[in-house]
Amino acid sequence: MKCGGFRVSYESDERMFDTRLPVIALVIFLVVLAFVPRFAGTYWLDVLNRIGIAVIGALGLNILVGFTGQISIGHAAFLAVGAYGTAILETNAGLPFYVAIPLAALLTSAFGLVFGIPSLRLKGLYLAIATLAAHFITTYGIIHWESMTKGVLGLMVPPATLFGRPLDSDARIFYVIFALAVPAVLFTKNLFRTKVGRAFIAIRDRDVAASVMGVSLYRYKLLAFVISSFYAGVAGGLMAHHSRILFPDAFTLLVAIDYLAMIIIGGMGSILGSVFGAVFMTLLPEVLKLTATSLTGIYPQAFGAIASARDIVFGLAVILFLTFEPQGLARIWVRMRSYWTLWPYSY
């Protein structure tokens, strides 16, 4: 009887899914997801949409940080370029959203390419500081290039239209977001079964060794930045259509930190981890907010204390994760799954 990871050919080793069960589960999950807008209210759809966007953004960051080992805190800037790029291409050039989002994502890639250049010389904290510069340059540009971005006053984005129907509700934009989030996950999964993906991992594990083996550091480091910022560009473009108003405040450094927290909590170098992290980091503030709101219903006078306790709980959750499960939610998931599949003979 075959048991565990029993692989006898390269083909089976390369398979995306070991058994049929996850495929079925995935299909059921997607079908259920397709019917969610029929039942969910605007609020929960809004949360789901933000999760979908965060999944794409987190995947992009995980490709760069988790898989290639190039630390970046410029992710909020890349999101901003994607978002503003989409909005400006649509309002000023009159492009439909399905052209504007890919174009803006390409633009973001070009941006990522430029700000990825320091990675050829810098590593670790030094690279982080270099990407920080990207962040500040971008936000400065957004605030001060008022003729295009409307600066701090905020840029209104008209609803996208598809087949003459405006995508003006959370339910309609939901399908657009998930029509991009699902392929994004699959593409990433595939990426790491190719030469490019393996090169990324080799660079992460030991860049000198990788270059000795013939991996061009120059090409692949920059490629990691390009791919990563393409994802961020798509996520940004979706943000523009989801919130329909863009502010420089929506892309603060905290957003970049949030995304880093997503992939750390979810699991660095794990695709499932990016998804889990995105879900967790989007849901946690909402759950805390709902708790805070219901608690203030009972103790209205304690609103101030409860509202600030929210931030403390948030910080605490991150610290506890880092301490007790550095490999993140993805690792917990794997442990849980193997416990049940191997039960009662878990060895």
């Binding site: 809004d46 959370d170 329909r244 108003i245 929506a250 907010k289 209205p300 509202a307």
Partner: protein, 398 residues
């Protein structure tokens, strides 16, 4: 047969009657939900803490007196850190999840961002933002700024400059210093136009960051233009930075500050640098001699007498008072539209004397055209004079 069933039927009937008796008041007492959006952790928390406390206290006060038309009020509170995206999420939660009747909104960036949603959802939105962009019911029928709009305030500033200017050899020179966000910028465009109209030289504009740690470089640039007066449009916790840096540099410019920038805390925050600064006051200060103040102070002393509050606390009460009056007038049929119409029926409505009387009409959502000018003298806030600015329809929505 009936002999057997009779008592049972009667029992059931009695039960039904009792149940309906119990159920009817319960139905009538379903609370009225009001959204409460505040910033407690962001750059305007100097206002938000007291505003939140004021709203919570006012609602508790009303509930202790039986609520509105026999129904209790329930505040659904969300803290959003002055970040517009979080306010949009909170708004969606208010409208969709909590089905609030009305929202007590907060800052200008978020309120202006929400305009299209508010108009579409028909949710009366009484905001802490007094932006002039919210005053035109033809464009924003459900937005109600909760005080004298910023555009009227900047006009008050320039009227004051004109009145006090005695030198006939030249026009007075003014400068605008404003925060780099939608709140700071809200009245600037109108201010430029009004300066031209009033024959005042607008010589300089300085943009300061929302969170301000140092204004020296901006003030040095301003010094070269040598304005006689400068109008500061930012928050109470950041205005002292400007005043102190100006004091340090020895500038001669006289400062006038808008309603959110100067209150009873300013003298202790800015010390000597605050001397002579003028503020436009929209709402009563703590302890002012106005009719409603005793109620507020008694309530405060009874429930949390140990802490202190400034004018934003009065604003919290004010907006609940205005909202509750509208809900009372809207009667039993409570919808966004009926509450909006009720708000627009307010004529010279007495806000317990906390502000000049409020009037909203279906043509003009500027609640009042009156304010007070106060000045800091000898470390104390003193009343300078009451001012009125005409309700010129030209400035509506600007």
């Amino acid at each position: 047969m009936s002999g057997v069933h009779g008592p049972l039927v009667r029992l059931v009937l009695a039960g039904l009657v009792l149940w309906s008796l119990g159920a009817l008041p319960a139905f009538a007492q379903a609370p009225i939900k009001i959204g409460n959006l505040v910033d407690l952790t962001g750059p305007t928390s100097d206002q938000g803490k007291d505003i939140a406390q004021g709203r919570i206290d006012a609602v508790q006060y009303l509930n202790e007196r039986g609520g509105i038309n026999g129904r209790k009020i329930e505040l659904v509170s969300v803290e959003y850190g002055f970040q517009p995206p979080r306010a949009v999420a909170a708004y969606k939660k208010f409208v969709d999840n909590d089905k609030v009747l009305l929202v007590l909104g907060y800052g200008t960036p978020d309120t202006e961002a929400l305009r299209p949603y508010i108009t579409k959802d028909k949710v009366p939105y009484l905001s802490g933002s007094y932006s002039g962009h919210l005053t035109d019911p033809r464009q924003t029928p459900y937005n109600f700024p909760g005080g004298i709009d910023y555009t009227s305030q900047i006009r008050i500033f320039m009227n004051y400059v004109k009145e006090t200017w005695k030198d006939t050899s030249r026009k007075p020179r003014v400068a605008f210093i404003y925060a780099d966000n939608a709140y700071g910028r809200a009245p600037i465009e109108a201010g430029r136009l009004y300066a031209k109209e009033a024959g005042i030289d607008l010589v300089d504009e300085e943009v300061i960051p929302t969170v301000l740690t140092d204004a020296t470089s901006q003030l040095l640039t301003m010094q070269k233009k040598d304005p006689d007066f400068a109008y500061i449009n930012t928050n109470t916790q950041w205005v002292p930075v400007v005043l102190k840096d100006s004091y340090k540099l020895g500038l001669k410019t006289k400062y006038v500050v808008n309603n959110y920038g100067l209150d009873e805390r300013t003298p202790s925050l800015a010390g000597d640098a605050a001397e002579g600064a003028i503020g436009i006051q929209d709402v009563a200060f703590w302890g002012d001699n106005v009719p409603g103040m005793k109620t507020l102070m008694d309530f405060h002393a009874k429930h949390h007498g140990s802490d202190t509050h400034a004018s934003p606390y009065m604003r919290g009460w004010l907006w609940v008072i205005v909202a509750s009056e509208a809900i009372k007038r809207a009667g039993p049929n409570l919808t966004g539209e009926s509450v909006k119409n009720a708000l627009e029926s307010l004529r010279e409505f007495d806000t317990w004397g906390l502000t000049p009387p409020f009037t909203y009409t279906n043509e003009d959502h500027r609640p009042t055209n009156r304010a007070r000018l106060v000045q800091i003298k000898g470390g104390k806030i003193t009343l300078l004079r009451e001012v009125t600015v005409d309700r010129d329809m030209k400035w509506i929505g600007k």
